[in-house]
Amino acid sequence: MRRRFLLLLVAAGGVAAGEPDPKRQQELRSLLKNDCGACHGLTRKGGLGPPLLPESLSGKSDAMLLQTIQEGRPGTAMPPWKPFIDADETVWLIDNLLRKR
């Protein structure tokens, strides 16, 4: 249902990416904390993966972050998250979670 809505938006040339519903937002928050946290740290200060704090990402483009999260980085430990987080959700995650404290 939600997916169809997003598709419609895109088809209509809408620029605003769809916002995940509140339940999904909560899931993404906990995914970031727990599952990204396994490599980037619970507080995102880094571990096996680099820090993901707003200041560490400030010079990096949304497009690059989106690409990295969706596709992973082959040859490194960063896996692709495409199977679990779609592109719109990733955009939301970058804007609302990664770029904020």
Binding site: S30, K33, N34, D35, G37, A38, C39, G41, L42, T43, K45, G46, G47, L48, G72, A77, P79, P80, F84
Partner: protein, 394 residues
């Protein structure tokens, strides 16, 4: 004024002292105690396995994601290594924090020396190893993991080894370092370079002869025979999975939970949903056992009859049990969402399993697979029992 102060402060103190004094007067051992990490709260629970109960909680320990614990040889104190570089010493008998220091910016774990005198911490930031006295947590030595052009590497897979040694791997440098602490005032370092790309964790075989580092950046594992360090580091299973596409790894596997049954060692494959069975006499692959996901911990029940396995996201709601004789998965359990760790009671009749998202610790009987107890814990992760104090490499 003084009078009031006395009344308000001394009376409760007196009562506390009388009651507290009575509590501490009860003599007890610590052999059936342990700690459970509560990762988001930054606290640990002190638990007792005999009664399957929680005795207390100690907090303010910092960022405990990926925290680990070692025990003093008298099994009274737990040393907690926090992600944020914190090192805490906890008194299990008095249920209190003895001392906490912030020794680095980002760390991954540690070890206690064979003689119990020193605590070594593996740091990511600044990359290296720092060594402290176990008594007072005073800095004894700082050993930067420098390689190449004055770069610093993150350190992983730090273990204690016989002969008052520590062994660890340099993730970014692809090296293994052997620290000889025989004379603590003159620590000697032996470096093994070019051991393979991105060693991500390591383990020591029971007894402490072989140090085995898992490689993320290439196939196989790096093996150092501590009886013959002069022979250098050897690559084992060099061709395993070389020609296959790797599956994505959503959580790095661990090697600390060494699993040995007779002459067989069980280790998680990387990027494959398999547990590898290795013959430790020739260091050759015997079998790869298909399992439910990317294995994270692969742990043998202390008698070696069963191997318990948990998994990375998105398969982390289950646990599988491998039969050590026929080398197949005999059981699949569903403890709940976010199974992070398992720990056997000292002789293995029960296993404690932490289930992060359910905020529970489950205790199973390892023979009947019956659930014996559920204990509340806030986002529990690592579980560590004091029996580890007597085990080299844990």
């Amino acid at each position: 004024m003084l009078n009031r102060l006395l009344k308000t402060s001394i009376l409760p103190l007196l009562i506390y002292w009388l009651l507290g004094g009575a509590c501490f007067a009860e003599l007890r051992g610590t052999g059936d105690l342990g700690v459970v990490i509560e990762r988001e709260r930054g606290s640990v629970l002190i638990i007792e396995t005999s009664t399957r109960s929680i005795l207390g909680r100690v907090g303010k320990l910092g960022d405990l994601s990926h925290a680990s614990v070692v025990f003093s040889r008298d099994q009274r104190y737990a040393y907690v290594f926090a992600r944020d570089g914190g090192l805490s010493k906890i008194d299990l008998l008095q249920n209190k924090l003895v001392r906490r220091i912030e020794q680095a910016g980002n760390s991954i774990g540690g070890a206690i020396s064979q003689d119990g005198r020193f605590i070594a911490v593996a740091n990511y930031q600044p990359g290296g190893v720092r060594i402290f006295t176990s008594e007072a947590l005073e800095l004894m030595a700082d050993i930067p993991a420098v390689y190449g052009d004055e770069q610093r590497s993150r350190v992983v897979g730090l273990v204690d080894a016989p002969g008052r040694q520590f062994v660890y791997s340099l993730f970014d440098a692809g090296e293994i370092w052997l620290l000889d602490m025989q004379d603590p005032s003159r620590i000697e370092i032996q470096k093994f370079t070019g051991i393979g790309r991105q060693p991500y964790d390591a383990l020591l075989t029971p007894g402490g002869r072989y140090y085995l580092a898992g490689l993320f950046g290439e196939t196989g594992l790096a093996l150092l025979d501590l009886w013959h360090p002069e022979a250098g580091v050897k690559r084992i299973l060099p061709d395993y999975g070389r020609h296959d596409e790797k599956l994505p790894v959503y959580k790095m596997p661990h090697l600390e939970g060494w699993a040995v049954a007779g002459n067989l060692a069980f280790v998680p494959a990387v990027g494959r949903h398999e547990v590898l069975v290795i013959d430790t006499r020739q260091w050759r692959l015997v079998k790869s056992i298909p399992v439910a996901g990317q294995p994270v911990f692969v742990m043998a029940r202390p008698d070696g009859r069963q191997i318990w396995v948990n998994f990375a996201f998105p398969d982390n709601q289950q646990v599988q049990v491998i039969d050590a004789e026929d080398l197949t998965v005999g059981r699949t359990l569903q403890p709940g969402k976010g199974v992070l760790h398992m720990e056997f009671t000292p002789r293995g009749e029960e296993v404690w399993i932490s289930v992060r998202d359910d905020n529970q610790i489950l205790v199973y009987d390892t023979r009947s697979f019956q659930e014996m107890a559920r204990l509340p814990a806030v986002t529990p992760s690592g579980i560590f029992f004091t029996a580890r104090a007597a085990k080299t490499g844990l």
